[in-house]
Amino acid sequence: MPFIPHTSEDIKQMLATINVVNIQQLFDEIPKDLLTADLSSLPLGVTEMELMREMRECANQDAGLQCFIGAGAYEHHIPAAVWDIVGRGEFMTAYTPYQAEASQGTLQLLYEYQTMMARLMDLNVSNASLYDGASALAEAILMAVRIQRKHQSHRVLIPRTLHPYYRQVIHAIVSQQNIELIEIAFNEKTGRTDQKALAAFDKQEITALVIPQPNFFGVIEEVDLLTDWAKTQNAIAVAVVNPLAMALLKPPGQWGKTGVDIACGEGQPLGVPLSSGGPYYGFLTCKKEHVRQLPGRIIGRTVDAEGKQGFVLTLQAREQHIRRAKATSNICTNQGLLVTASTIYMSLLGPEGLRQVALASHHQLRLLKEKVAQLADVKILFSSPCFHECVLQFKTPVKKILQALATYRIQGGFNLQPVYPELGECLLVCVTETKTSEDLEQFVRRLREAVSAVREVCV
């Protein structure tokens, strides 16, 4: 019996102790007409060896392609030590650290994570993580609404340069609570959030402004101006950032005259594999004065009965298991294991390493842009500087270009046409430190071939 250790002698003795004749009798309180589960449509069990073989073939089906897709999930090198340690049973098979004395490993690690993330964002406090980047932004918006609870109505400004899936997720989550999400247009030349579109809301009651950095197009936004605008409006400034980029770009705590109130985002670039989109984790950091509104698990340092340093879950009275219907959120987990990976990743890379990875990714994208600029019928769309991702515009359908690239085992990028139809045929291309100059040469050569092949078909 897979994973059930009972011998027939064990079963006999156990039934005798309970004083029943068979296991079925243990279900005698359940009405008979409910004991009807039928699993006959399911396959029979297999051994580990059989399944491993089958799954190796299954996984290989999708393997072996060069990946130039980013769009919120980024391929970076992950040091071998990271997942070797994460895979230790003591981390992987522990539960939420309710019994603090028996969970000091997880708790200290989360405290170290909170410290690293607060420092990377240059803000005062961090929680121990949420599900993913998009849901972290939804929680950040709900947090802003709680901070601004005196407002009559809740209007949150969302730039159209924010990841389209993030916009969908926050809509699904916060629209249940009478919060109005208002889209802010971008400048079609620069790819940045349009200051003029924002000015339309001058002197109005705005609950929060969301500020992506870099934005979905890879473009670096004018974060100082946006933050200062939000603060003069008495709106909460919510940054949503790529954490790796913050080793190179100005962190949210330093934006504008005051810094932002809340910074959140997707933690995946810091040591978490692409893995079909999850599990990743969302980070959420804020200024000290907002800590009571911060949702999710938070770890604090304290002392034990002998005065020795130790760590516990703290501020639990905000949470659902105590506050129930009045909790700051219904969340009762963090993404502990992914945070474990990120904490080890950030420790291994250190301050200089993290900056070098960000710089290398940026540098490789610049190389790619230089090469692509020489191609006919391909235009680099926005004039602003960007971070490791940029938009290419074509005269022929991107869908076909991607199919043509696929025949060379290249995943050419994310097709923007369905989500930004106003931009025409556009492709979002991502380059990280994992791509060599040869990879870039190869990509550009294949792109030229793909473009001309598609043009011939279209003509």
């Binding site: 994973f3 004395e101 200290q108 599900y131 938070i298």
Partner: protein, 483 residues
Amino acid sequence: MTQLIFELSQQHRRAASQIPAANYDCSDIPAEFLRKTLPRLPEVSELDVVRHFTQLSQRNFSIDTHFYPLGSCTMKYNPRGVHRMAMLEGFLQHHPLSLEVHSQGFMACAYELQEMLKAVTGMRAVSLTPMAGAQGEFAGVAMIRAYHRARADHARDEILVPDAAHGTNPASAVQCGFKVREIATGSDGNMDIDALRAAVGPHTAGIMLTNPSTLGVFEQKIREMSKIIHAAGGLLYYDGANLNAILGKVRPGDMGFDVMHINLHKTFATPHGGGGPGGGPVAVGERLVPFLPVPMVQKTADGFRWLTETDCPETIGRLSTFMGNAGIILRAYFYARLLGREGLHRVAEFATLNANYLLAKLTAAGFTPAYVTRRASHEFIITLKNEAKTFHITALDVAKRLLDYGFHAPTMYFPLLIPECLLIEPTETESKQTLDAFADVLIKIMQEAKTNPALLQTAPHTLPVKRLDDVKAARELDLVYIQ
């Protein structure tokens, strides 16, 4: 004492083989956008990192190292082979936005898991995207709201929950904009049916239940309850927290539930990871199919394809950036495949056998079950109310003393209805010998309570730290290390 990684830091020390070495320039980015000083991360060697975090891991209890009978959490063995398969390069390197033609391997696994979950729950359709039980609850309640709205039934603004419910139930209902009304539990552990009858009406959107309930007993009048709710125009939500108790025996769809979530990290043995990631797929009956969260996987003659907003215009939307916790979905699928239909059928049987055996042993030794006349489900509650009075000890003291003996403590003080309680869930993967050892230790601890209660009151004694001052932690917040 293990130092903080920041205390190990030495200026200019680095793990050189991890750092891209070239001289890169970023002169195209204006200085106003750049970070001026490096983030203050630790400066340590690779060995420092490996040793530090390995040592931290050794300060944890876990399923791999200790019996972990944490009630309502289903801490069963997480098969290593399952983890190994999910860590295959092909799965790890797969980008979530790859073309469908480059995603068929993952999509096949996800599709098959959808089908398996339909079969074990007796539901009509499944969406795998919710990333935890609480997000599954949110999705389920949002679907109930969408259903009433689609019928222009706007008066339904109230969700009912039992007073013994997990705290996420009312919190999720409020996050979906509902009011919450609590329904009392009767002395036998079943819901008070008269109280339920009195509570329902034209404002009832639905009820959230788990069965077996959080009290560790089967809600026997579930069919009657389902009739009352449906007659009032409400829907029934099944919280899958206790699905392990009935897996392969009873299907929530057959009990009359309209919507539910499944905790993959409980019933389907995916690792808890020190508090996550989990997985909380939702399953629904016919009426709620149009509202399921996207994306989902559809099987066609040309292979698998994603179902998105375009295919499902009434969907409650997208709950995660991509496809939820895909790696957890894979693990749950592999686990289900290893067990197969014959193995899944045994899960509830042996989880129930283990719980009732342990309950019988502890009752014989003088412990007080919360519900003396009831059969245990996959878990049960003992109350230490009498011991607390006689020996001046608390359930917390007993829990902490168990840690000294190498057993993780059961869930304490939940459900809130039962004073000084321990909620014990042994799971099917533990042997009789482990259960015997656990019962012996509990009996021994009660002897200690008689002879030397201080031993319990100041426990634990053998762990890296003594009992921690959580009042100080909350009053003098120290959430990040200040150098």
